[in-house]
């Protein structure tokens, strides 16, 4: 009898262990927010987009993604606000256009999951998808202007400047595409996949790659201007330009401050976890979230850490700042607002718990 039980128990134990080890992953999303006046528009891990009062954190409206498969209702990219329309790329393979009251204006299915943010310029909405395409839709009637096929997934957000679209792909290339007709102008090859979104500034496109190299590429012809190769892991988050520097977050846990003209390292901030989201400038400081659960605040001038707020959950969303407040999403399904004092000390304003009926909590995080 014992042997019989043992025989039965073994395979069952194995299967239980395999089951505990996890199944096929479901997308969670790490949307950042966009602020307009007193409203924060942000995607949540509940598979919806919410408009929150920036002062109180209370919900003004919510729009649940419409994809048939509920497991795919995630939002990774920061919504794009253009005039009175909010554009949201859903992991459910749909691009949504919403009014600022949360009503659906139109929806357009695309051929793959959308991870990057939509970009709106000159009446065109651009979005990448993991079918390897960059889609260009007319803003008003959602008709397709063109599509551009890359060699792998497009998980980044296109950047647009002077009639040229800059888009990166996991096929290791940065592409320059004509906004008018979608034709390829040039492509720049790196040695690693690119999930980071390109940023254009003053004739130069900045991009980081999985090869651990950060590139500055001449926008005119796609030639390399300089590169920085000291990172210990991939670049994922979108870099930002501020003053004479470009700030590049890396999955090696560091935020690199590079001179945007020479690529020379000015300083780097080391955190205890990968940095997935994009940083934000507030006063004379930079704030960035990390997988170590902390929102880090550093002085721009010399990179010295000023303070940090331990939220004890992975922080992967872009940080958005308005006035003295920063907003971000966290992996524990919360959206948080922190007031950053002029001396750099953070003070939690509110926490919006997206999975609760009464989602707003006020108070201070102990480690802030």
């Amino acid at each position: 009898m014992t042997r019989k039980l043992t025989l039965l128990a073994l395979p069952l134990a194995l299967l239980a262990l395999l089951g505990c080890a996890g199944r096929i992953a479901t997308p969670e999303g790490w949307s950042g927010g966009v602020v307009d006046d007193d409203t924060l528009y942000i995607g949540t891990r509940q598979g919806d987009v919410r408009a929150l009062n920036t002062e109180s954190g209370e919900t003004r409206w919510r729009f649940t993604l419409l994809g048939e498969d509920e497991a795919l209702r995630g939002v990774y990219g920061t919504p794009a606000l253009h005039e009175d329309t909010l554009f949201v790329g859903g992991y459910d393979r749909v691009l949504y256009a919403l009014t600022t009251n949360g009503e659906l204006k139109w929806q357009e299915p695309v051929g793959g999951h959308i991870v990057g943010s939509p970009t709106v310029v000159d009446g065109v909405v651009l979005v990448g998808a993991d079918d390897g395409k960059v889609y260009a839709f007319e803003r008003e009637d959602q008709s397709s202007r063109w599509t551009f096929q890359t060699g792998n997934k497009v998980w980044s957000s296109p950047a647009v400047a002077e009639g040229v679209v800059y888009a990166s792909s996991l096929d290791k290339n940065l592409y320059a595409i004509s906004l008018e007709d979608g034709s390829k102008l040039w492509q720049f090859a790196t040695n690693g996949a690119i999930a980071s979104s390109p940023v254009y500034d003053d004739g130069v496109v900045y991009i980081g790659s999985f090869d651990g190299v950060f590139y500055a590429v001449n926008a005119a012809d796609g030639t390399l201007r300089w590169s920085f190769d000291d990172a210990g892991s991939w670049y994922w988050g979108t870099p930002i330009i501020h003053g004479e520097d470009v700030y590049a977050p890396s999955l090696d846990g560091r935020l690199y401050a590079l001179n945007k003209r020479t690529g020379k390292l000015r300083w780097s901030l080391t955190t205890e976890g990968p940095i997935v989201g994009s940083p934000s400038v507030i006063f004379d400081m930079i704030t960035v979230g990390s997988d170590d659960g902390r929102l880090h605040i550093v002085r721009i001038s010399d990179g010295n850490p000023i303070d940090s707020c331990n939220m004890q959950t992975e922080l992967r969303s872009d940080v958005v700042a308005q006035g003295e407040t920063v907003f971000l999403g966290a992996r524990d399904k919360t959206i948080r607002a922190l007031r950053i004092k002029a001396n750099g000390n953070p003070d939690e304003k509110w926490v919006h718990k997206a999975d609760e009926d009464n989602p707003v909590v006020r108070g201070r995080v102990e480690d802030c």
């Binding site: 073994l10 395979p11 996890g22 199944r23 096929i24 790490w30």
Partner: protein, 312 residues
């Protein structure tokens, strides 16, 4: 909570990371084809596990050899369970057999299976979260690993990160497991054990086939290749008898009931070859098991009578 995290870190360090980096390295070697990388990885795993397999096989072989002796004891003490248990343990002790010794290697292989499951799902990230997670596990000193990311999930008709949308992989997993068990048949004199083994022979392939419908097909590919390799190794080590028997069965020849008893769990759960034979004395390797069982039964009867005569 902190201890739990430490255990996870240790697990990742000694199991997950080596597996993930091995898979990625093999992917870069085998023409950026992850299906081939999994097949190569399976062969490597089988090679690494050979010492365990041999130990396990020896234990199984010894257990098989003791079957007639155990049968005698069962007959002798069929009305005294305590005495039966004592005598059985004595036989094990005398012959240097640990009755659960063959399970030791099996338990050691559990982590490999679970690790492989995690390694496949993390190496083939289906979501951005998983891809970020993968970056934490790659060795920065290993040349070229970052250059081949993201891994191409496609192999034949499969997306290796997802379950097979067709019923092909579940069926192949079930069939290969069934065949694997059949080749590792171990006769049992105990009818209860024979019944259990028979049940396992059918239950396990069905269960694994079912779970294949929810697991990444990359893992299913590992199981299939592992089973096939196991069958081949078993064939070379202990002969092709059981397989031939199966073919005969298919041609309409009856298969003895006793031969149905299999070393089911070991064969299935480990997918490792066991040096088990379809006869107790190991002399009719590759021959009809019916004959082997019949002769064993006769010799058992003879010994029994001799013992009775002596007692008289």
């Amino acid at each position: 909570m902190q201890i739990f995290q430490i255990l996870i870190d240790i697990w990742n360090l000694i199991i997950i990371q080596p597996m993930i980096n091995s898979l990625v390295l093999l992917y870069s070697i085998f023409f950026l084809n992850f299906g081939l990388a999994i097949i190569a990885f399976t062969l490597v795993v089988r090679a690494v596990l050979i010492p365990l397999t041999v130990r396990q096989s020896r234990q199984m072989k010894m257990m098989t050899d003791l079957q007639p002796q155990l049968k005698e004891i069962q007959e002798k003490y069929k009305n005294d369970k305590q005495q039966l248990s004592r005598a059985t343990m004595e036989v094990y002790k005398t012959n240097g057999v640990n009755p659960i010794g063959c399970l030791g290697p099996l338990f050691i292989q559990f982590p490999i299976w679970i690790g492989l499951f995690q390694a496949v799902t993390q190496t083939l990230p289906s979501t951005p979260e998983r891809l970020v997670g993968l970056s934490k596990h790659l060795y920065s000193w290993l040349p070229g690993v970052n250059d081949v990311i993201p891994i191409n999930n496609s192999f034949l008709w499969l997306d290796l990160a997802q379950p097979d949308t067709l019923p092909v992989m579940p069926v192949l997993v079930g069939v290969s497991m069934f065949l694997m068990q059949k080749t590792t048949t171990m006769p049992s004199a105990d009818p209860r054990q024979a019944q259990t083994s028979k049940m396992m022979l059918w239950m396990m392939p069905i269960m694994f086939g079912f779970f294949t419908t929810t697991f990444p097909s990359g893992l299913a590919l590992y199981w299939i290749v592992s089973n096939l390799v196991g069958m081949i190794i078993q064939g070379f080590v202990t002969g092709w008898g059981p397989l031939i028997d199966m073919l005969k069965f298919k041609r309409g020849e009856p298969v003895p009931a006793a031969a149905v008893a299999t070393a089911t769990t070991t064969a299935l759960v480990t997918s490792e070859p066991e040096e088990t034979r379809s006869n107790a004395d190991g002399r009719n390797n590759g021959q009809n098991t019916r004959r082997g069982n019949r002769s064993r039964a006769k010799s058992t009867r003879r010994r029994s009578r001799r013992g009775a005569n002596r007692r008289r």
